[in-house]
Symmetry: D2
Subunit: 324 residues, 4 copies
């Protein structure tokens, strides 16, 4: 089927390419003419403006936004609300905050426009590997887009089937899932990323302990110098901690096991934060997911005021002067 795609960054461009490889037609637009031209070179029908893109598509249209979350997406959806027609489908495939998606969907619904929120996992690997999609929105619109989702999803592949799933929705085993009403796709993706942060931090702490085990302060017989690149690799086979993230850790460590090109400052997108806020809203504990986000915050600070206050208190009660 025919899909319009707005936003041709790393994710959007590859989504277009994967769809075209599967025989779908893509009309594409990016505010960077160069980005648009690149996807056009791979078969996309380029538009020079949002209006141009809308004009290229036959109603009822389906348009996929793949834009930075926050203000950019907010503005784009406001624009589409004004320009699309009743019966059109607008998809937000980015990492929007689910409460925004609920509000945007309600606003669009008042104009007869179907809003579909798609949490899209796959990163730079998605073009070849396919995208895992968590989808929110009304059933009919989701069904209408099924050929798109089916083409983007990884498919069953060679992954071992899970028993007892015979009576369940077969789309799930293809790698896409209709999660529920508007917002539920982005909520699920948010939690997916929250878990991702937790898993990454689990590996990070474990490898950190291994990497510092050669410390000369330890008793000599209990001091070990690990080849952490080899450990990551060996755990890929038969161990309980094997995962795709471990595959990537092994790739990174095999390149340079000191990871010398990284400063240690770790950015975070919003989803790790929102996951903790959701836990708080629901009054459920999330110690690990919170610790994972706090570690990143700390990594981007030089020494904190908090730490200085600890030293100040130690000085005041005990006369302790910190060693340098």
């Amino acid at each position: 089927m025919e899909l319009g795609i707005i936003g041709l960054g790393r994710m959007g461009a590859n989504i277009a390419r994967r769809l075209m490889r599967a025989g779908h037609g893509c009309c594409v637009f990016d505010r960077s003419a160069e980005a648009t031209a690149k996807v056009a070179a791979d078969g996309g029908r380029p538009a020079a403006s949002v209006d141009g893109l809308i004009a290229l598509l036959t109603p009822p249209r389906a348009i996929w936004l793949m834009l930075p979350s926050g203000a950019v997406t907010e503005q784009a959806i406001a624009e589409m609300a004004a320009k699309l027609s009743s019966g059109d489908i607008l998809i937000d495939g980015g990492n929007s905050f689910f409460k925004d998606s609920v509000k945007r969907g309600q606003m669009l619904a008042q104009r007869g426009i179907h809003f579909i929120d798609v949490g899209t996992s796959g990163g730079v690997w998605g073009l070849e590997r396919g995208y895992c999609m968590m989808i929110g929105g009304d059933e009919a619109a989701v069904r209408r887009l099924d050929p798109i989702f089916a083409a983007l999803a990884p498919g069953k592949g060679s992954i071992e089937p899970t028993p007892n799933r015979q009576t369940r929705d077969p789309r799930v085993e293809q790698g896409y899932m209709h999660c529920g009403p508007m917002g539920s796709g982005h909520f699920a993706k948010m939690i997916h990323n929250g878990i991702e942060y937790g898993m990454m931090q689990a590996y990070a702490e474990g490898f950190n302990i291994l990497e510092t085990r050669g410390d000369a302060k330890l008793p000599e017989a209990e001091r070990f110098t690990y080849d952490v690149a080899d450990l990551a690799e060996v755990w890929r086979r038969g161990s309980v901690v094997s995962s795709w993230l471990l595959d990537l850790a092994s790739i990174a460590l095999a390149k340079d096991q000191a990871l010398g090109s990284y400063s240690g400052e770790v950015a975070d997108s919003g989803e790790g934060r929102w996951t903790v806020e959701a836990a708080i809203e629901q009054a459920v504990p999330a110690e690990v997911l919170a610790a994972a986000i706090f570690t990143r915050f700390r990594s981007r600070r030089d020494h904190t005021f908090a730490e200085k206050l600890l030293s100040a208190l130690r000085y005041e009660f005990g006369g302790h002067v910190e060693p340098k």
Copy 2:
């Protein structure tokens, strides 16, 4: 080659079977005659006692202990120290504390017995899937046992190769690794399990937030009722959080997505604890790994004194009476 195996529980019996399938000869003993008989039925040469087992093996012997860590292993190693001969190899494949392994290895070395500590991951799946092994001990003894490790390991399988590993130890890609001196195998396995705890907790918290998102206290449009079994399955394909643990979560949730057969009390073996202690010994942070173990402790308590003290303080300063 020929291997003696003492301890034929879930792990030990399958280790014997996997070795025998690969053509190795196994002399086996378990203090339960029934357990011994079962492995004998699959081709093992049974012994009726430790002495009997030793007598069955041609020196220099290699004996693999697969026993509960702690007192049972301690006693078995003391017994073997007395009964084995110089040049024999004693392998501890269990989850022993690495500092114990260092001490035991030093004691055995004084008698000329080689001690090899093997962290063995694979659980009930190991027979078919192979065992991931982290090995500590002296190079020559590890080399002598290579046919054993090669047979137990999963092998390269269909797992995507990691780039830039051409000049590295090829055993690692087979699923076993000589980590370093005595104790380093058990240390690596300990960290492996620490990471496992952290990953499990990351999934547990994430699914918990998803599972409680239908809470009637939330605004109706932001309330979602997820099919968590489907979510676990869909994430197996193309998502960043795919892993073997997620495969298992999907299996468990497809059986019963309420997990109604589990009480919620979660045991822990020692390795999660020791991982945190190692972090403390090395003065490196391990927030996630600590949170993961504390959650298990809490799960096994009814209300704690800590919680009652919080309520008592709230009553004393604010007159707050907790709702029931």
Copy 3:
């Protein structure tokens, strides 16, 4: 001076009483006629309605709201916006969310009404001990209310003076502080409560370790049975952990050192949650404050889905069946 007070619960009624003891006139109203009558019996001029209260006061008026935060306060402020006159001062002394206070203050300012947000600490002890106040709002209005704040505050008392404060705002040593613009009082109170949660949890964990140290599983010589009521008391004198919360712990434990009347379910007001959300908004770590709130969430749940999933995973990979 003359103050109107709306909301005569535990906090509001005692605020009126403390002001009247200091010679101020209080016009009081509570939607419960009984609550109003009680404060009237102590010298307050009772009103039968909000309109009645407004009519009793001479413009420019000052009215202190001491109501449950959230919807009740929201509605009361909307009502006051409609009924008060330009030049009047409206004080919110409750635990409102600071972002709400900012919005409400902006709305009131458009009508010429001064909004003052006062974080008020002191609990049931405030009548005798005085209230510690963190105040946000414009300078002139705060100055106008100075007699009120001075009367409510604890005063210098017998507390040891802090050196190097000669050139600083003398109000602070009386126990009240003008923190900054609208919202800054409630923000400071929010952080105050966040710290309170963290301190309470620190004591709770420490006493919990002490209280469980008699565990028969520990080596006999390392097993101790503490009189925790005595420990709380002894730490009140000369120790680094002495505090008002410890005074209260000692009071509670001297009544019943098993704390048998508390179920262990611990409620939380919003401020611990908002503190963590503020940390997230500012991208600064707050591990302890987050752990403190999560502990309370957990205390109010029976076993969580998270814990069941941990057990399910343990069963799936290792065949582990949890002990009961």
Copy 4:
């Protein structure tokens, strides 16, 4: 009575002085002749060696060790075991690990020497304020030392009495407590320090959020610039978070509210670590106490390998390059 004191650092010298002010005789020794001379100038009887000190004292002797914990204390106790006589009392007033104290006490008991472990809180303020003491050991020896403990303790002072303590041990209200058998004094002090770490971290995190609330990235109306020195001071009066640590925070912040003389690297003595290890040994959760120690570990590292691994994974799956 007469007491020998070995170790005349900040703590030991002031203990001697406080005892002498109360009329007790102190025989003192420090391996630094200068330190010994200083206390001699204040009235102590100086000894030039351990043997000299022992000779100065009339049996049955009482000797208080106030030495760095670990090897120095270990060696001193071994020396005393060889040199003291049956019936003598040896006191370890330092921060020794309680399991060491149990072992040392057992060893000394075999020689008829009474071992008393005293957790001593008070820091540089103890000379004037008195020392809070948690005491382990046999009843008779503790009773014999009562005049010493009574003189060192703060006494009842002006602290508000706790109700319901009439039938309890009156020594506790003086500021010293016989906690139980050998080791129980050091265990209680360890937990005291663990709580101290948690409280310090609670304040540190709270002040950190306050101190960073002026961040220009926040919405202007929700941005506040606090005088944190004033906040610390105002909370000393009537608030729930008042404490001695807060008094010290106020002192430190009044000197320099930027705390510019502190690097932010925070040392830790062993007791915070041991507290977490005790929690692990007892299988009770201690999230806050663990987070408090991990923060200090992190403060002493530049960027960790853990953080670099997080960035490496982000690069591998998403092509993310960390901003600098």
